[in-house]
């Protein structure tokens, strides 16, 4: 469990990125922080592994106040996946994945075996192990990034817009892959995005942020859709544009789902999976 207790962050230039933030992130679930730029979502994420230290308040992981933990040790116990993969360009895929285990003293053959297993986990062909990051596609690079994040078998995985820079098709593939991985591994995932659809797809708990890290609403995707707290939430989830207000029409004897703008959203079936 990760707990934010009255956390504020003012940057040296005077910007108040996060103002009196309180939140509990339950273990073994995915919490998605979603908001536009300037909402402080990345700052909140980076406070969990002490890449950013709060100017006020405290953050606890289980019962440890993280300000008492040594940053390097803390970071090695937490997986981190970033938007541009952040891979080391001069190291092969396998070496990139094994970076932290090697730093922590795991022997080379063992680290390599584990790296290959992780490539299976994230759906990368083992034949790519000796490639360099520049020889991979954007989607493959992100998979390596996820594998590297999982390499120390962390309880917590921080993901900062990990699928933001890949094309929509690959993004959707990677999202499904993450859902599958999370079903197997049940990590405490903190995921940052500005894409509300991604947030609803991946989040057990979704946190909608306004400017300055102000929480607009916290809840399950269903909660937020069913009871949007205010107009801001309504606008953000797209309910005001009718995108989420679906109705059913009969077309050629089948029930077709149409959204508020009249666009076809899909076909309704009787609940048995197709």
């Amino acid at each position: 469990m990760i707990t934010f207790d009255s956390v504020s962050k003012r940057f040296p230039d005077g910007t108040l990125a996060v103002d009196d933030f309180n939140l509990t992130l339950p273990s073994r679930t995915t919490t998605v922080l979603v908001g536009s730029s300037g909402s402080g979502k990345t700052t909140l994420l980076r406070m969990i592994n002490r890449m950013v230290d709060p100017t006020a308040g405290s953050i606890r992981i289980d019962d440890d106040d993280i300000s008492t933990l040594e940053p390097v040790k803390l970071r090695r116990s937490i997986g981190y996946v970033m938007q541009n993969s952040g891979l080391l360009p001069h190291r092969t895929v396998a070496d990139n994945i094994a970076t932290v285990p090697l730093l922590s003293g795991v022997k080379r053959p063992a680290a390599r075996t584990q790296a290959l297993e992780l490539m299976d986990t994230v759906g990368l062909d083992r034949s790519l192990a000796e490639r360099y990051p520049s020889q991979l596609s954007g989607g493959q690079q992100q998979r390596v990034g996820v594998a590297r994040g999982l390499a120390v078998n962390p309880n917590i995985l921080l993901m900062d817009e990990p699928f933001g820079a890949v094309d929509p098709l690959v993004r959707s593939e990677l999202q499904q892959e993450l859902v599958r991985i999370q079903k197997d591994l049940a990590k405490t995932i903190v995921f940052v995005t500005h894409d509300i659809d991604e947030a609803f797809l991946l989040g057990d708990q979704v946190v909608l942020l306004k400017t300055g890290g102000k929480i607009a609403q916290v809840g399950t995707p269903a909660d937020i859709l069913a009871n949007p707290a205010d107009d801001f939430v309504n606008t953000f989830v797209g309910a005001d544009r009718g995108r989420r207000a679906l109705r059913i029409e009969q077309v050629s004897g089948r029930q077709v789902v149409v959204d508020g703008t009249g666009r076809i959203a899909g076909i309704l079936n009787d609940g048995t999976p197709t």
Partner: protein, 228 residues
């Protein structure tokens, strides 16, 4: 016979390849001054450059200071150091090496800090987020990726030092400059040309070796392209 041919003939004469004033001895002395200078300058300037590149501190001051160093007239500084200190003439090597180190510092410093600065800040951020210590970031990420530019700095420092190390002869030391300094007063222009030719050839040879090293130090993943 024209001057160049005379100089080449001088170099080809076996009599000039032995003894304390022979080409091997002068060449070894010249390389010795260059090697010692570059070693000292690398220890000072590359260390400082890595520090500036990694921390971003003292960047402005260093650029200004090294710019000023470049403006110092080598021969003037050498003469001053040699006579200003008691040991200057007795231990002529000290002022000579100081002058040459001063010359070598700007390119080395620039190569080192611009090399580290050229590393993608997102790569460094990722390395730190994973739990690398600052030393590990420097040794495992920044230096390997900066190496081609660091070697580039060494290349340009070696070139300048090798060419300028002729001044050692000006205050009684050896090296290839000996041929030039000794021959000028007696108007032995063939020998002056010999000195100049040998320095040029040495500089070109070292340049070639360092270009090769520079190519070899480009990290494999950086050289590789997607089509590879």
């Amino acid at each position: 016979m024209n001057a160049i041919a005379e100089a080449v003939a001088w170099i080809g004469d076996p009599a000039h390849w032995t003894g304390p004033d022979g080409i091997p001895t002068r060449l070894a002395e010249h390389l010795g001054y260059t090697g010692l200078t570059v070693l000292i300058a690398v220890l000072l300037a590359v260390t400082l450059g890595l520090y500036i590149g990694h921390t971003g501190r003292f960047r402005g001051i260093s650029i200004g200071a090294t710019g000023a160093l470049r403006a110092l007239p080598t021969l003037g500084l050498l003469t001053y150091l040699a006579i200003a200190f008691g040991f200057g003439i007795r231990l002529a090597l000290i002022p000579t090496i100081i002058v040459l180190v001063v010359l070598a510092i700007p390119p080395l410093l620039a190569g080192a800090y611009s090399g580290v600065e050229s590393v993608d800040p997102r790569t460094v951020d990722a390395a730190r987020s994973m739990g690398m210590t600052e030393w590990q970031i420097l040794w495992k990420v920044e230096i390997p990726l900066a190496l081609p530019l660091i070697i580039g700095g060494i290349r340009s420092a070696v070139l300048q030092v090798v060419a300028t190390a002729t001044v050692a002869a000006y205050i009684s030391l050896g090296g290839l400059g000996r041929y030039i300094i000794d021959a000028l007063p007696v108007r032995d222009y063939t020998k002056v040309l010999v000195g100049a030719l040998l320095v040029t050839l040495l500089a070109l040879a070292l340049e070639g070796i360092l270009i090769l090293i520079q190519r070899l130090t480009v990290p494999a993943g950086v050289r590789a392209t997607r089509s590879a």
